[in-house]
Symmetry: C2
Subunit: 411 residues, 2 copies
């Protein structure tokens, strides 16, 4: 018998039959003797409907009232799922964030969970009930309704699992796990049985959007075993377990290849190489609310430096204009940029302790005559920027070079 937290997103509860499908799935666990807490999102489409109504009322809808409004989406789902569970003969009880006292700070629309009172849930579980909790929402110390921001239901699930010391937190989605890369680009992409929290963070932030980043951080912090799996009938399977690094993982393992199509790069050349120059270049960009991704700086020969960074493609024109102004002020030689580039990243804890991975990567790209425009590395990833047209070719070359289509040998 295990205590398991399930989480079902908007698509998984998007219609009457989908909710009934979730009820059957949960009942399977209960029949198996498990205790189950279910966290649900709003039915797909509902949040957008409510946001549109709010937009019709007020140009910039009040943050407190927005949370009152949006939290109704999950409240509808918890009631419906509880009914569906009862219809299958499974006793169940629903709770809003307020009722189960998911205490958050007062930062409306992006609140952070501070504490959870697990007593009510524990009593229901002991009484043989399934506990159904509204995701995405909480309550602040003054009794105001708060929300955790888009995708916050994942965070709710992990936080409940941590508070209840659950055996596992299972995130049901429309994919059956985390893949070595996007199967639409590499048909041979393979589902990973497990991945570390850190790798998952790199995969997620690099564009393989399966889980909300915050929930992964949260799970790592509280040591909650997290599993991603499919909620759809006919796609059942073990999913991917996101877990701590273990001994058996210390081989030269690459978990996957992430990529991001939305990048643009900007370069300022011939900047006098003096202290504070990086701040003088990037400060105005940050003040314009443009997020910077990669940053690379090279020292040139003549006491000047070349400085390159990437931004979201939508921000390219704005960033270029700012940079040209900065270049004049700094007396830089030249500004140029390219908004037809992409980023490809190799992710894996294995690269920490193993040399040769970077060279294998660069070799594989060179074989395909793909010119690398920028390189950046971290503990568990190597990212390269290449021309947009090489994205698919590059990802496939790397997938093959690291044999990602084959499952690793058992440790």
């Amino acid at each position: 018998m295990a205590l398991i937290v399930h989480k079902y997103g908007g698509t998984s509860v998007g219609a009457v039959d989908r909710i009934q499908n979730v009820a059957r799935k949960v009942k399977g666990f209960v029949d198996n003797g498990d205790q189950v807490v279910v966290v649900v999102s709003a039915m797909s489409g509902e949040t957008n409907r409510l946001v549109a109504l709010a937009g019709a009322m007020q140009e910039k809808p009040d943050a407190r009232e927005m949370d009152v409004l949006l939290s109704t989406g999950e409240q509808v789902t918890i009631a419906l799922l509880s009914m569906a569970l009862k219809a299958t003969g499974c006793d169940a009880r629903s709770y809003t964030g307020t009722q189960v006292h998911i205490l958050t700070d007062s930062a409306h629309n992006k609140a952070r969970i501070l504490d959870i009172d697990e007593k009510k849930m524990r009593a229901d579980l002991e009484a043989g009930r399934v506990v159904v909790v509204a995701g995405f929402q909480g309550v602040d110390e003054h009794g105001n309704i708060t929300t955790l921001g888009r995708g916050g239901s994942d965070t709710t699930a992990v936080a409940l699992a941590a508070a209840l010391k659950a055996d596992e937190c299972q995130i049901y989605t429309d994919v059956d796990g985390v893949y070595t890369t996007d199967p639409r680009v590499v048909p041979e992409a393979r589902r990973l049985d497990r991945i570390t929290f850190e790798e998952m963070l790199e995969m997620a932030s690099l564009g393989s959007k399966v889980l909300q980043i915050r929930s992964v951080e949260f799970a790592g912090k509280y040591n909650v075993p997290l599993r991603v799996l499919s909620s759809f009938e006919g796609k059942e399977g073990p999913g991917t377990l996101i877990t701590y690094e273990e001994d058996g993982m210390e081989d030269a393992r690459i978990s996957g290849i992430a990529f991001n199509r939305d990048e643009a790069k900007l370069t300022i050349q011939g900047v006098p190489d003096q202290p504070g120059v990086a701040y003088r270049i990037l400060g105005p960009i940050g003040e314009a609310n443009i997020e910077i991704d990669m940053i690379v700086q090279n020292v040139a020969s003549d006491d000047t430096t070349d400085f390159t960074f990437t931004v979201h493609r939508n921000d390219y024109d704005k960033a270029l204009a700012i940079l040209q102004k900065t270049a004049q002020e700094l007396g830089a030689r030249e500004v140029n940029g390219d908004d037809r580039i992409v980023k490809i990243s190799l992710v894996g804890v294995g690269m920490r302790s193993h040399a040769g991975i970077a060279s294998t990567m660069f070799e594989a790209l060179a074989k395909e005559a793909i010119n690398i425009r920028m390189i950046s590395t971290s503990e568990i990833k190597i990212s390269v920027v290449v021309d947009e047209k090489y994205l698919e070719l590059g990802v496939r070359a790397l997938h093959s070079a690291f044999n990602l289509e084959e499952a690793p040998a058992a440790p």
Copy 2:
């Protein structure tokens, strides 16, 4: 400066522009220096949508979960109205039933209000804010969400007005007041400036559905001045004040004529006249969950009695079958009935102290050759049952006989 509670029903908040219209109306009061608490229902159609979803989940949806589900309807409206108020420059804050602590018993779907904590509302009003409260919902002592049953938002408004000792509770509807009778039947029907709580109860229960009966009882009990008026632009006016009986009302005043098209009558004749016979006749009807409206018993000449009662037309066949069975058991002579009858009622506190009203009524009907099939009287009303075909003729004759189209002389 007055403290006023407004209540807007589903039609009045049924669309974006309607909610904006409500915001403008409320702002008018605020600009006038009034403190305003607004109670709102779910947007029209929303409750039906939710009920349909629940029905798809569970044949007989769980009562607790139904309340969790339905209470989202009003929660959406309070958030939207608060945004709309802020957009007009009017500071506002929304509260769910739980947040403003509308404490009820635990009778899900038909809970009764036990207590209201008015401190939060009072603080907001003092701070110059409009307080927007979700109607129809409350919370029980265990933190479960409850609802007051359909139309319960009227009750919420009256209860808040009582707790806050408001100067007036204004119920905004799609009609501009209470009329002497249905203007679709009598075009000369006149809006009443005032009506007593008791008269309003008779008018409401007799089919002039403007306010939920419970809210009127509640207002009478706590002495809350209640006003019915229109929420629609271009139909502004003083509405109808529902109030205590006052001295000036002691003249022979008839307030209005109510009628009910949904009646059917059943008669059992020649029943041995002995103690307990009424119970033996009506007991089985009640056990079948059939509501009985009027009851009339006449003693016949031969130690037997004739017994007549009315039920809703939909229950006629069922009631007839039960009565035929009872007749056999009691050795009654005959059972007959008629499901093509209607009830017309004259309502007015004036009839308490004035003779001659009944005779004027019967005379007016006789002049039109309308045969009276049944008569029943109470302190403030006289009801007659007539053939269905005479409904409009009868109502018009009475409206004219009592000069209801003319406003009464000022007292």
